[in-house]
């Protein structure tokens, strides 16, 4: 098997897995199952990143998305009653509207993006890992956002603490 064929095969497997698990997230009627499907989705996306040579993101995705965020969500699921039943992730009355709109958003994106003249660049063949490049960029181009993110995290921290804390305890 050539490299290209492996790559192709890997892509299709991952793509299908990603989309199917994504669909499961929004179709499963049990919220815990949906959360597990979400973890799967994030997991597959991480491998898609790797296909795109984005090793740093692969790690980040696995750690943060597939790791941390679902944990938070599961916590939330556990903390809210009614969550474990089979209708804990039921559809609201908007299913038809939702389907139509989601389909048209998808259709719109496909119709516009497929024929688009995307910017074409030459990916440097010698690039072994992206971490070094991104790290350099973070202190050059993205120094300010890097600092702002710290503010953002501070905000998130304060916010989560203030809101989640029970009064009188």
């Amino acid at each position: 098997m050539s490299n290209a064929l492996v790559f192709t095969l890997a892509f299709y497997v991952l793509a299908i897995a990603t989309l199917v698990s994504g669909l499961l997230v929004v179709t499963l009627r049990n919220i815990v199952h949906a959360a597990i499907a979400l973890i799967a989705t994030f997991f597959f996306v991480a491998w898609l990143y790797l296909l795109l040579n984005a090793d740093l993101l692969w790690v980040a995705q696995l750690l943060i998305y597939a790791g941390a965020i679902p944990v938070l969500i599961v916590f939330a699921v556990m903390l809210t009653r009614r969550s474990m039943s089979d209708t804990s992730n039921a559809e609201s009355g908007n299913v038809l509207w939702a389907a139509v709109i989601a389909a048209s958003v998808f259709g719109l994106l496909i119709a516009v993006m497929m024929p688009a003249a995307w910017h074409v660049g030459n990916y440097p063949s010698g690039l072994a890992g992206t971490t070094a490049v991104i790290g350099r960029e973070l202190v050059n181009h993205y120094a300010v956002p890097f600092e702002v993110v710290s503010v953002l995290l501070l905000v998130g921290l304060i916010g989560a603490v203030v809101l989640a804390r029970r009064e009188g305890e």
């Binding site: 609201s92 908007n94 509207w97 939702a98 709109i101 048209s104 958003v105 719109l108 516009v112």
Partner: protein, 650 residues
């Protein structure tokens, strides 16, 4: 400019000052106020007689601006002015106005004694005198219109003197409004004249009578235009002089105090219309058609009023219709070209009609009723009054040699000269009925036994005091003898003093006219005697009236004009239009206005419902919106296949 003309402004000023002082300073003091008014008008009278004498000696036309008011409005190229005009016509009128006013005021000292609003009454008479003099001495249409309106208001105020009586209040309003119907075309006529002749005044103020006179012939206006112009001006005269069809206000105006009827509604204000036509005679003369209209309307009014007068029961109303008839006669005269005679009749009429009214007032003062059938036999108890009224009646009926005869005769002559059978017939009818109603009144009131009236002792009737009788006597003398100033064929008569156009030749005496009118008048007196003088009574008036009930009712109800006007115009047109407009505003205009507001309210209620409160709804709106915008932009935008827009970018 020498006296007396230079002093003529005082004629206008004195009564005005009297009015102002009365209202401002002496309102609480009846005596002082009344005498103030009398003295003021007496002073004015002296100056006006002086002016008349000067004019008689040397007829002259003089006019000058009235102090600060000579530039009443002056800017750009417009100039409206108030001034004093002295010529034979105005000099004659001034004397009439001042003298009658003086006599009436003296008369009122007793007549109005103890009445509520005594000073108000005197003040308004002064104001009226001022206004009337302003009108008479006017140099131009503008000033005339001012005076015109002012006398109208004074008339309104004085008719409404007894404002507590609903009838008086209504009559005052009616007089004012009905005259306004004549005034507004008059006003438009002035505008028309201004529009045509402004810019051709050659230095004179706009609308100046003497400056405009030659312009009527200057070809600035077509004959049709002149006719319209004349009719518009004439409309004013129709209203003020109570000519048909605006005659309805004058009989009602008798709700005012009797001396007021004598002053305003007999001698002065109501003849202002006649005076106006005379003053603007050049305009009418420039368009003969207009004179025919004047004559016809005058004759019609005169005939109708004369007929109606025969069927009235109120002493003042009889005289009022008599006034109407005589005013019609004056118009008739002007219309047939008897300018001098018409003016002469105006002159004599002032005295004898004032005399009749004041005499009637004296009777009312004694008898305390106005219904002639409740009177009777007054002659025995009020001798002076009776004799004076008799003179007045002879004069009014046109019996030789009293003044009315001579002036009426002049008009008759001119009517006969037209050889128009309708006019001649009209003149005869007028003459006959004038004599008839005048003496019907006289016989019913003064002869026979005192009529019986509940709770009234005829013995209480006694002659009035000197303040009443002296003016009566003065007027009787004038009514008796003033006619001789205008004897037909005289070389220094009235016709040689006040005339239109070239200085007239001495006219030949028209004996046919004299004869016919005298005979007809005597027949009228005889008929009256046969019906109403107990001593000679041959026919029963009630029986006659019953036999011709339909005719009598028509006449008694003044041709039903009041009722027709009320139903047709007041109720039918004006009030209904008022209700219609008010309804339209409320139900149509506001319907749309309120509807717009309600529409917004409704739209708001609907739009609110889109805000369902569920966050997914918002998300749906958000994504649906984005998709919709994107589709529209992609399809119809400038890059899309169905591009319809092309914006401006930079």
């Amino acid at each position: 400019m020498a006296a007396p003309y230079s002093l003529m402004y005082l004629i206008v000023l004195l009564p005005l000052v009297a009015f102002a002082v009365m209202f401002g300073l002496t309102y609480e003091n009846k005596r002082v106020s009344a005498w103030l008014g009398i003295l003021a008008v007496a002073g004015a009278d002296v100056i006006s007689i002086w002016a008349l004498i000067s004019e008689l000696q040397k007829p002259i036309h003089i006019q000058y601006g009235l102090g600060p008011f000579s530039d009443f409005l002056r800017f750009a190229d417009v100039h409206f002015s108030l001034g004093i005009l002295a010529d034979p016509l105005s000099a004659m009128m001034v004397v009439v106005v001042c003298s009658v006013s003086l006599l009436v005021q003296v008369y009122s000292l007793e007549y109005m004694k103890g009445e509520e609003g005594f000073v108000r009454y005197y003040a308004f008479i002064s104001l009226f005198t001022f206004s009337m003099l302003l009108l008479v001495l006017s140099t131009n249409y503008f000033q005339t219109y001012i005076g015109w309106e002012l006398v109208g208001v004074c008339s309104y105020l004085l008719i409404g003197h007894y404002f507590k009586r609903p009838a008086a209040a209504a009559a005052a309003k009616k007089a004012f409004i009905v005259t306004r119907f004549g005034d507004f075309p008059f006003f438009v006529g002035i505008a028309f004249i201004f529009f045509r002749f402004h810019g051709h005044m050659g230095g004179a103020a706009d609308l100046d009578f003497y400056a405009i006179s030659p312009l009527y012939h200057a070809g600035l206006v077509s004959q049709g235009g002149l006719f319209v112009m004349a009719m518009l001006i004439f409309s004013g005269a129709v209203g003020k002089s109570a000519q048909f069809p605006l005659h309805v206000w004058l009989p009602d105006a008798m709700e005012g105090p009797t001396p007021i009827s004598a002053l305003i509604h007999a001698a002065t204000m109501v003849v202002a219309g006649v005076y106006l036509v005379a003053r603007t005679y050049p305009l009418f003369a420039a368009n003969p058609t207009s004179l025919v209209v004047v004559a016809s309307l005058g004759a019609l009014t005169s005939v109708m009023a004369a007929i109606w007068a025969v069927a009235q029961d109120d002493i003042k109303r009889v005289i009022a219709y008599s006034t109407l008839s005589h005013l019609g006669l004056m118009m008739f005269g002007l219309g047939v070209g008897a300018y001098s005679a018409a003016m002469f009749h105006l002159f004599t009429h002032a005295w004898f009609k004032a005399l009749l009214f004041l005499g009637a007032g004296s009777v009312i003062h004694g008898v305390h009723t106005q219904n002639i059938w409740e009177m009777g036999g007054v002659g025995k108890r009020m001798k002076i009054t009776t004799w004076c009224v008799a003179i007045g009646s002879f004069s009014a009926a046109g019996i030789i040699p009293f003044s009315g005869f001579w002036s009426k005769d002049g008009i008759m002559a001119s009517v006969f000269a037209t050889a128009n059978p309708v006019f001649i017939a009209a003149a005869i009818v007028i003459t006959f009925f004038s004599a008839l109603y005048t003496f019907r009144l006289f016989f019913v009131v003064f002869t026979g036994e005192p009529a019986r009236r509940r709770a009234f002792d005829p013995k209480k009737i006694h002659e009035s005091g000197a303040y009443i009788t002296v003016p009566l006597i003065v007027l009787a003398v004038l009514a008796a003898f003033i006619g001789f100033t205008g004897l037909p064929g005289s070389k220094q008569g009235f016709g040689q003093f006040i005339f239109f156009g070239k200085h007239p030749e001495v006219e030949a005496i028209n004996y046919i006219a004299i004869g016919v009118s005298l005979v007809v008048a005597l027949v009228g007196v005889t008929v009256a005697a046969l019906f109403y003088w107990p001593r000679f009574q041959r026919f029963s008036a009630p029986a006659f009236n019953a036999r011709y009930a339909r005719h009598y009712d028509w006449s008694h109800n003044k041709g039903y004009f009041d009722e027709i006007y009320q139903a047709l115009f007041v109720r039918g047109l004006v009030l209904r239009a008022g209700q219609a407009t008010a309804w339209f505003d409320k139900n149509i205009v506001d319907y749309f206005v309120d509807g717009l507001a309600d529409g917004y309210q409704l739209a708001s209620e609907r739009l609110r419902r889109l805000q369902g409160g569920r966050v997914q709804g918002y998300a749906i709106g958000l994504f649906a919106g984005v998709v919709a915008i994107a589709v529209v932009a992609l399809v119809f935008g400038s890059s899309g296949p169905l591009s319809v827009v092309s914006g401006v970018g930079r």
